[in-house]
Amino acid sequence: MARDLGILVIVVLVLAATCQSAVVSPVSESHRSAALELFSPAHGSYGSLEETYEALKTFKVLGIEKKHAIRTSSCASVADTLKSTSSALKDFFDALRVNSILKCELNSEAVRGTQSRLKDSLNGASSLIDFYYSIGGLVLLKEQMSEVDVNLGDADRIFRSIKALGQSDGRWRLSSNNPESSNNAAGIALEALAGVISLATPQIDNSWITTLKNDILKLFDGIERYDDGTYYFDEKHVGARGHQSPLSSSASVVRGIAAVAAATSETLNLPGEKIMGLAKFFLGVGVPGSAQDLYHQIDALSYLENIRESTPLILSLPATVISVTKKDQLKVRVSTLLGSPAPTLSVRLMQIFVSGSKDASVIDQELKFDAVSGMHVLETLPKNIDVGSYIFSFEVIFHNPEHKKTYVSGGRTRVLVHITGVIKIDNAEIVILDGDRGSVENQKKLKLPGDNAVALSANHLQKLRLSFDMSTPFGNAFKPHQAFLKLRHESGVDHIFLVGNSGKKFEIILDFLGLVEKFFYLPGRYNIQLTVGDADMENSFLQPLGFVELDLPDAPEKATRPPPQAVDPYSRYGPKAEITHIFRAPEKRPAKELSLTFLGLVLVPFFGFLAGLVQLGANLKNFPKSTVPSTFAILFHLGIAAVLALYTLFWLKLDLFTTLKALGFLGMFLMFVGHKTLSHLASTSSKLKSV
């Protein structure tokens, strides 16, 4: 509930940014639960000493008790860091910070070693960060170990070196080589300078304090502002330490100012309005999402709370939505930043503005303080306040005049309040009127809001009238944000009409004769739907009332077509119908028997050839008889047979390239053999001739 309130507060802040009705709420349970969630230790420790310190400080301010286990591991880490010779300056600083909260038992030898390291660093320091860590470490040592002597003899020189890094606009540079100045660095410098003052041997020059006061005032000159009175510090450049958010820069400055205020007993004369603005800024963040942001917020709020001379007080409303019907009462709470109770005071409601207009009424009514809940209660709302949105302007009056000097209340606080209620709707009826004479053809009473299912029919010469009365719980007229009548045709075409009003009576007359063209000449059933709604109306409704069968004349040639209705996305983007591909009909193949017959027929000439050869008396008489020539002859024939077999294989499964390769080899063989055979035959026949 508190978290929802926080979110509501942020929304209200955003909405009301221009009209200065900023409502913030003090630190609450939501911050505590966020702290427990964000600062959850992994394996019993928080990682680095810096993170440990942030967690411990946040818990301390929020009043959360933590487990013992963290203490042992953290104390061990602190002791190790202080003993080690390789620790950096930052580590000493962080370890001492953690120790200031945990108050571990420390080895006095380690403490002496730390002190000498810090003093050496301070003597050799040149950058602002070095000064900050070494001075900060020495201040912490002095707080924790009162027997250790850490006073500075050359405080004057150190003060001047730090001041040398300051700019005329109140900001500081991080080192002499770095030309960029920042607010963040200013906060660090102020802390360091305050530390020098507190560590310096009792004789401190008063002019230093004055210089510091002036520096702080100069810094406040550079503060930035939102319209709703929130002030914050932001950086113009991305500094050497990475991008600093307004939250961390503002927190750094607040720490610096608080350190200076603590180091001196003089008053700093801080501008109360700006302190209040800073407090509103930190509270306006709500509940931050990161551990470091939460630390900055809570740390800065704790310092702001304890500023002596201008402690901010926050006026907050737990609920800004008041229901007249439920008889809620407006409650206001005034507390400090961390949620502690404020001193005795009273809250007066000074003015009420109507949201969205310039009307204002002066009220000046005191709220009754309820000691049990700690809230100021507005028992009765002023006379002329009805259902609606208003801006209430409150003022805080202190009972003790002394408090006016030490507390800052922020003057008039403006809050956006919604007064809601159940709106009464009476005399609702829907009527069909005859066009010319206006006589009632059909009349139906309606229950609004409620279930209605009227069935009417009309033609284009008639009119439809819907009327009802609306009044607030106090009996005044009420004009809602929305009053629509919608007629929806069965094909899906919508027509929306505004229901106008005069005072309490709301009425709309639909003259179908004039609307025929608007309705695209579509006859048929039209469903009627009434919507009445407002942000402050608790019983807003959107209801179907029934239907009306409209008989319209036929559309002329040139009439506009009704707009195409939205296509069901699945039908448009869904899968389309299967395409049946039409292939070319395959060629008709002959019957198998026919083919086989012709296969036989084709072989017939071959047998005819063989028969003819026999008849002619072809013989193999010339076939060589002796071995070598006969071998060649046989090989020749075999070669030809092989080539023909290769061709068959080629037809069956080989490809051209393999075939050509094989053919090449076979061909060469065949050539050789053929040449031998034929030359032998030639020589034989020439011998015969010569013989």
Binding site: E587, K588, R589, P590, L594, S595, F598, L601, V602, V604, P605, F606, G608, F609, G612, L613, L616, G617, A618, I640, V643, L644, Y647, T648, F650, W651, L656, T659, L663, G667, G674, H675, L678, S679, L681, A682, S685
Partner: protein
Amino acid sequence: MGRSAATKDAHALFHSLRSAYAATPNNLKIIDLYILFAVATAVIQVAYMAIVGSFPFNSFLSGVLSCVGTAVLAVSLRIQVNKDNKEFKDLPPERAFADFVLCNLVLHLVIINFLG
């Protein structure tokens, strides 16, 4: 009267051709028979195509051209081998036969490739 004279002349012509043909050497007759065989095969293929249509046209062409091609090569062989042919007097018939075989082999390679 005229008809019988015509037929008598046809008969006489036929006989004279037949007797003249009988005088041709045997090897030429073998070649002639081969040519006849090739052409007959081609005719049967064309008849088949006429019946069933020319769907795998490449196969039809391949078949017919193989027959026709080999017939043509045989004709050229006959010309070269014929002893009465004065032009090819110096060409040994074995050489002509070797050409015939080679060309046939190349023809059949192409035919098989085109057969599909």
